[in-house]
């Protein structure tokens, strides 16, 4: 089969492929892998973040601690005036700097510093206060995040030393962004990678699947292609191919045996039949002996017919006889069939009706398809009661061609529907009906040769046998 030509078909094919990849175990496995990588990356990046940000926090804290210690030392040596002058000096030296100072009296009234008022926030367990700070420098209206430590002096004075941590926060955000992007890119790359990996695995598995299906359809000569890389798939393919060779050899052996039996049994049976015929001709034309001889010839012929049918099915099932395949009109074939069998049905008071909308082209063996449909129609006539209406219909929905034979007989119970195709299978209530039990086996063998599917359904009442064939344009 070639790729569907119309866009809808192409889309369906693409979607089917995508679904195939999504449902593949490889892809699921890859997803799990992506998840594991994701968790690892999150842990790794989290650690990087934690250590970087923590380092910066500790740096700030250390700076503030050092400053407090410096200022405290100054206070101890030079008193309040020394402290205030040092603070004023520092504030004056770097008015837009990151350092924040505020010295207040016991009423929290500012004495000196670059902060307007004492922050209302409470310090945390480690003595740190986080508060909003009116920006100094050019962006005067902004509020910045600041962190500060409070140091109590003698005489109820309090000294607050802190830092504007805006840059720190910005760096922290930058790191967070970088980590988030890193995570997203890792996930995307991992997903893409697993998709590509699954696609290639699915493709190779699909080729194995495709070959298996062709082999199941009877083409035992097919082999799985190797990629040449000698990887696991190649090793699997080599093993499967060896298995197929073994199976093919065994099948050939079985076929050889059955052909030998055919040859060894048919020839003497034919001789037996021929000698009986000669014997019959020697006997008086009206005697009972003559009748007996003729009946015996008929019995021998029946045995030969069963034998031939078996061999024919075996040959068809070997699936190699497609030499006589040619495009043919299924509707014309059905018309011939109805024309041939209508009088037989009419003789039983049945009506055989054909419904066909127009020509339906399939590629196949004309005689074999006729044989298969004849077997179905023959059964339909045999099992339907007098007066029943039998229907043969031919149609196509573009993708599949269909022939349907519907009767008004007893039908086949659902649990027997698979069994009726077995050689010599006969439903209990049909044992009295003449037939070899090979008719449907032959139909199935012919269907298999044509890559056709047989469907048995209920005709309420009766049996409906549908043969789904591949139309010409899809060959």
């Amino acid at each position: 089969m070639t790729a569907p030509a119309h866009p809808a078909g192409a889309w369906t094919g693409l979607r089917a492929r995508a679904v195939g990849i999504l449902r593949s175990s490889t892809f699921r496995f890859a997803l799990l892998y992506v998840l594991l990588i994701g968790v690892s990356v999150v842990i790794l990046l989290g650690f990087i973040y934690w250590s970087t940000a923590g380092y910066m926090d500790r740096q700030t804290a250390a700076t503030i601690q050092a400053e407090i210690q410096g200022l405290a030392e100054q206070y101890r040596r030079r008193g309040l005036s020394g402290l205030t002058s040092l603070i004023s000096e520092r504030v004056a030296r770097d008015p837009a700097g990151a350092s924040v100072y505020l010295l207040v009296d016991e009423d929290l009234d500012p004495i000196v510093g670059n902060l307007d008022r004492w922050p209302t926030e409470f310090p945390d367990a480690d003595g740190w206060i986080g508060f909003r700070l009116r920006a100094r420098g050019p962006d005067r209206n902004d509020e910045h995040e600041a962190r500060a430590q409070v140091f109590r002096l003698r005489g109820g004075l309090r000294l607050l030393v802190g830092r504007d941590v805006r840059d720190l926060e910005a760096t922290r955000a930058l790191i967070q962004d970088a980590l988030a992007w890193g995570l997203a890119i890792t996930a995307a790359l991992a997903l893409l990678g697993s998709w590509l990996m699954s696609a290639s695995l699915v493709r190779r598995l699909e080729s194995i699947n495709q070959i298996s299906r062709e082999i199941m359809e009877g083409d035992l000569s097919r082999r799985i292609p190797l990629s040449g890389s000698g990887d696991d798939f190649d090793q699997l393919a080599v093993s499967l191919n060896r298995m197929l060779e073994r199976i093919e050899a065994l099948m050939a052996g079985v076929r050889q045996v059955s052909d030998n039996i055919a040859h060894d049994m048919r020839t003497p049976l034919t001789r037996l039949r021929n000698k009986l015929e000669l014997l019959g001709a020697e006997l008086p034309a009206t005697g009972a002996a003559r009748t007996l001889a003729e009946e015996t010839v008929a019995d021998a012929e029946e045995m030969l017919a069963t034998f031939n049918a078996l061999l024919r099915i075996a040959r068809l099932e070997s699936g190699s006889r497609r030499a006589a395949f040619a495009p043919l009109d299924l509707a014309a074939l059905a018309e011939d069939l109805v024309e041939l069998y209508e009088p037989v049905a009419a003789e039983r008071g049945q009506h055989l009706r054909l419904s066909a909308a127009g020509p339906v082209c399939v590629v196949g063996d004309r005689d074999l398809l006729f044989q298969a449909l004849a077997n179905l129609v023959d059964n339909a006539i045999k099992y339907s009661p007098p007066g029943g209406e039998l229907r043969l219909s031919v149609g196509s929905d573009g993708r599949r061609a269909r022939v349907l034979v519907a009767d008004r007989g007893p039908g086949i119970p659902v649990d027997l529907r698979d069994k009726v195709f077995r050689r010599f299978f006969r439903a209990d209530d049909s044992r009295s009906t003449p037939g070899s039990g090979l008719g449907l086996s032959l139909v199935q063998a012919v269907a298999q040769l044509h890559r056709a599917r047989i469907e048995l359904t209920d005709n309420h009442p009766g049996l409906r046998v549908t043969l789904w064939l591949v139309p010409c344009q899809h060959q």
């Binding site: 020839t267 017919a305 006589a324 009088p343």
Partner: protein, 224 residues
Amino acid sequence: MRILLIEDDRQMADYLRKALTEVGALVDHAADGREGLLLAAGGDFDVLIVDRMLPGLDGLGIVRTLRASGNRTPVLFLSALGEVDDRVEGLRAGGDDYLIKPFAFSELHARVEALLRRGVADAPETRLRVADLEMDLLKREVVRAGRAIQLQPREFRLLECLMRHAGQVVTRTMLLEQVWDYHFDPQTNVIDVHISRLRAKIDKDFDPPLLQTVRGAGYMIRAG
């Protein structure tokens, strides 16, 4: 009639020789391909019966060689290979008919008779006649004893086939092949029903009946 039988199976050959002699044929026999080809090329036979699988030179080879050298003697292939492509292969090689083993002698006999007739009546016929039954092949009309008989197209072809072989047995498989053009094995005798319909049209109101059933063989149309 002179028949050359090329068949390596001794018993089959003996049986056929005996049976063919009994129906009035002169039978020569070759047991392998080369001998058969030499005899066929040298002798003046009416029909060749050739087995497909032969030691030395196989049946297809014999017939191809004969046809290539301009020998037109009708050939009936016998074969244990019965699939459609085997038949097609046989007919393509230059065979005129193909019979699958095992077969009833009556089937072989009917086919040999038909091949003999084909050799004689090569000129295109426009009218066929058996007793008071007449068929006009150009006008597609059938008349018996001056009365026109209406036939369906398939009934016409069925009658035509029988009348072309008037006086000879035509088997059911021959009718399926020649009238319906399908090589298949009907599980019931579908042909019998068609014959009885035809019989109702051409024989029922007339005397004597022309269309006869030959038990164990097939049908035959003949005068009296």
